[in-house]
Symmetry: C2
Subunit: 430 residues, 2 copies
C-alpha cells in the first residue's frame, strides 16, 4: 500500500501512479474482439453458438435455446427467500423513484414574432443491457440497468448474460422477473455486444448498449460505438475517501475494503490531513482483512493499489481528490456539505459519516454504474438520459423569418453555400 | 435520383439503400489513424510539425508557431464587413440564448428521515473543438461548438483547425475573436484529435472533444473515446422532408439542394403522399440546379443519393421517415405540430412552410451539429450537456441508514460481498 505524505520528495511520482490507475490496454485484445464482432455480423447465431461452446462450455441446440424462458424467471422469483424478495423490491422502488426524478422533459419557448424553439426528448426504441454472468452475476446490476431504461420509456429491452455450463444464476433470473424483463439471452462477452449491436436471427438489434463487463466487453462496446450508442467504457471499481479527525477509522477501513473486495485491480484511496486518522485506518485495515471471506482479493488490491495520503490541509486533500476523480467518493468530515462546492470530479459523492459507499450500490436510489479510472472528469453516472435522445424543435412564422432571414442569408453566402442562402431568400416577403 | 412509390415491387430493396446511407467504412483508415495517434502520443509537437509539413504544405519553425496570435484574430474581426459582423453577432446572441435555456441544473430532494439524494452538474475542465479548415472553414461551426462549451462554463477551451499553406481562414479568425476564444492551434486531421486527447508541449490535454471532420477525424475521435469523451461520430449531411399538398415545390427543391450542395455524399429525401407535389419538386430541382455555383456537387449528390418517395398517406410517410431518422427533418404540411407527437427520430425538426433548414444552420439558435446516418435514433444534437457531467449526491442520516440498512446488507451478503455488508452493518444503531 502507498502510505505517504503529500510533502514527501517522491510524492509527485507516486501520485502519477494513482492517476494512471485502471487504464485498460485494449490494444492487445482489439484484434480478437474485432474478429468476434465480424463473425457475429456475418454468421449471427451460428457464430454465437460456437462462441458459447468455446467459452461457456455448453452447446445450444437451436436458436430458441439461446433465450431464457419467462417461466424459469418467474419460478426463480417465487423461490426467493421472503426477506430477500422484499429487500429487492425496496431497492427496485427506491431506484425507480430516484430515476424518475432525473427524467428530462421536452421543452419549448416562444418569441413574440411567432418563433417556437425547443427540444423534444424521446426514448430510444430499444436498449441492450449486458449483465456479467456466472459467479459475478449481480442482481443489483440488472436493476441498475433495467430501471433507467424503463423509466426512459424504452419499448424493447434486451438482456444478454453468459451462463457457464448452461446454468443461469437464479438470483439474476428472479431479478429479471421482478423487473418485468422478458427478452433474456444466454450470451456473454464480446459476442453478446456484437449480437445486440447488429442483431441475429432472434436477438434484436438495439440502439443503445449499457452494462459492465471485462476488457473484452469494454473493447467490443468501444468498437460498436457509432453503430449504436453506449453508456461508457468502465474499468475496475474504486473508492476515494476525504476524511478529517471526526471520522471513524474502523468504518473507513471497511469502506476502503468494500471496493478492494471486488477486484484485485480495484483502487481504494484515503486522503486526509490527519496523520492520526491515517495511522488508525492502516491498523483497522489489517483487522478487517483477517475477517473477510474475500480476503485474498481484497489484500492484493489494497497492497498493490491502495493508498493513504496525508496532506497539509483539507484544501490540498480536495485538490488531489479532484485530480483522481474517483468513481465513488466518501466525504467523512464533520460538515461534509461545506466541501461539496469544491468537489469537481467524482462519479458519486457520499456525504457524511452515515453514508457508506455500499448503500449506493443497492438501495439508496442513484445508479451504481459510475465512471472509473478518472473518467468522472467527463462521464456521468448511468441514467435515464442514456436511454433517451433529443431533437431540436424549430418553427418560424413569416414575420420571424422576415426579421432575421437577411442575416442568415448573408452568413450562408459568405460561407459559399448559395442554396442555403436561396432557401431562406425565397421565403422572405420583405 | 430514386423516384419511387412506396407500393412499388422493388421498394423495400431500394429503401434499404437509403437506410444504409452515410455509413463510413472506418476500417480501412484505422491503421493509418492508429499510427498517427501513436506518433503524437510519443513525439508530440515534433510529430505534429511533420504531419503539418506533409498535409498542410508548410513547416512550423517552433512550437509557438503552432498557435494563432490573438492579434491576428482581433485584426480579422476589425476587418469584417459591418453587415456580416452584425449578422454574426445576431447569430452569437441567439445561439447563446437558446443554449442557456438547455443548461441542466444541479438538483436534490430530501426525505423526512434525513436522506438527501440528487445530482451535481458541473462543467468539464477543458474542451477541445475541432473546426475543419481551408475552403470548408465555416465560422458558423466555430460558434456552434464554442457557445455550448462557454454556456456550460468550461474554463479551458482549445480550438484546432488546419491552415493549408499557413493561411488561416480570416472569417474563422474573426469568429474566434467574436467568441473570445484565445487558444487556437493550426493543427488539423487525426493529429489534432490526438494532440487534444493526449496533450503536447503547448496544446493542453482536454476532457471532451467535439466538432465535425472527415473520415480521419471521425476515426480518430472514435479511437480516443474513453480517454476523453466525444460528441458523436458524424457523417455526411442530410435532409428529410415530409410534405403535403400545401407545400411550395419550389421551396422544397431548394431546401433539398441546400444539403446536396454540401457534399456529394449528402442525402436529400422527400417523402410525401402527394404525387403532384413529388412531380413538381422533381422539375424544380432541375431548375434550381442550373442556377447553383455548386451545381456539380449538388447534382451528383441528388442523382446518386437523392430520393422522392410517394406514399399511400401521411402516416406511412412518417413511419418511413422515422426509419430513416434524418439529421434534418422539415415538416412542410398545413398543420405541422399535429404530426410532432408521431415523429420519433430526427436531429432537428423544422416545422412549417416558413422554416427552411438553413435558418437552423446559422441564426435560429439551436445547434447545427446533429446526428447523421440514422444515428438520430440514439444521438442528440450537440449541446451544453456535452460539456458537462454529473455526480450523484447521497447523504444518509443515522435514522435513514437504520431504516434501510438491513435490506442493503442482505442484498450485499447475497451477492457474496461481505465487506459491503459490513460497511453498512457497522453503522446501524438498531
Amino acid at each position: 500500500m502507498m502510505f505517504i505524505k503529500s510533502n514527501a520528495s517522491d510524492f509527485s511520482e507516486k501520485f502519477e501512479e494513482l492517476l494512471g490507475r485502471g487504464k485498460m490496454d485494449i490494444a492487445h485484445v482489439s484484434a480478437i474482439v474485432g474478429n468476434i464482432i465480424e463473425e457475429i455480423k456475418t454468421q449471427k447465431n451460428a457464430a454465437l453458438i460456437q462462441h458459447i461452446t468455446k467459452f461457456d462450455n455448453w452447446t445450444p441446440s437451436s436458436d430458441d435455446e439461446l433465450k431464457i424462458s419467462t417461466e424459469s424467471m418467474s419460478k426463480a422469483y417465487d423461490n426467493l427467500d421472503t426477506k430477500l424478495k422484499s429487500a429487492l423490491h425496496l431497492a427496485y422502488d427506491r431506484i425507480k423513484l430516484y430515476h424518475e426524478k432525473q427524467k428530462p422533459k421536452s421543452w419549448f419557448d416562444t418569441e413574440e414574432n411567432g418563433t417556437i424553439l425547443g427540444q423534444k426528448v424521446t426514448a430510444v426504441d430499444s436498449a441492450g443491457l449486458y449483465i456479467p454472468g456466472g459467479k459475478a452475476a449481480y442482481p443489483s446490476s440488472l436493476l441498475m440497468n433495467v430501471i433507467p431504461a424503463q423509466v426512459a420509456g424504452v419499448e424493447n429491452i434486451v438482456v444478454c448474460t453468459p451462463t457457464p455450463d448452461n446454468e443461469p444464476n437464479e438470483l439474476l433470473l428472479a431479478a429479471c422477473h421482478l423487473c418485468g424483463v422478458t427478452q433474456v439471452f444466454k450470451v456473454g462477452g464480446a459476442s453478446a455486444i456484437a449480437a445486440m449491436a447488429y442483431g441475429t436471427e432472434n436477438i434484436p438489434k438495439v440502439d443503445v448498449i449499457t452494462g459492465p463487463g471485462n476488457i473484452f466487453v469494454a473493447t467490443a462496446k468501444k468498437m460498436v460505438f457509432g453503430d449504436v450508442n453506449i453508456d461508457m467504457i468502465a474499468g475496475p471499481s474504486e473508492i476515494g475517501i476525504l476524511a478529517d479527525d471526526s471520522a471513524n477509522a474502523n468504518h473507513l477501513a471497511i469502506d476502503l475494503l468494500s471496493q478492494a473486495e471486488h477486484d484485485e485491480m480495484a483502487s481504494s484511496i484515503l486522503i486526509t490531513p490527519s496523520q492520526k486518522l491515517a495511522d488508525e485506518v492502516k491498523v483497522e485495515l489489517e483487522n478487517w482483512l483477517l475477517k473477510l471471506p474475500r480476503q485474498e482479493i481484497a489484500r492484493k488490491s489494497i497492497e498493490e493499489r491502495g493508498a493513504i495520503i496525508v496532506t497539509a490541509d483539507m484544501d490540498e486533500a480536495i485538490k488531489l481528490m479532484n485530480d483522481i476523480a474517483p468513481e465513488h467518493l466518501e466525504v467523512a468530515t464533520v460538515s461534509p456539505f461545506d466541501l461539496l462546492p469544491f468537489i469537481k470530479h467524482a462519479g458519486a459523492i457520499f456525504l457524511g459519516h452515515n453514508t457508506p459507499e455500499a448503500i449506493g450500490d443497492y438501495v439508496a436510489g442513484p445508479n451504481h454504474t459510475l465512471p472509473t479510472g478518472g473518467t468522472a472528469k467527463f462521464y456521468s453516472p448511468l441514467g435515464v438520459e442514456d436511454f433517451m435522445k433529443k431533437s431540436s424543435i424549430i418553427s418560424f412564422s413569416q414575420k420571424a423569418i422576415n426579421e432575421i432571414g437577411q442575416e442568415c442569408a448573408l452568413i450562408a453566402n459568405t460561407e459559399g453555400l448559395t442554396a442555403h442562402e436561396q432557401s431562406v431568400r425565397v421565403r422572405l416577403t420583405k
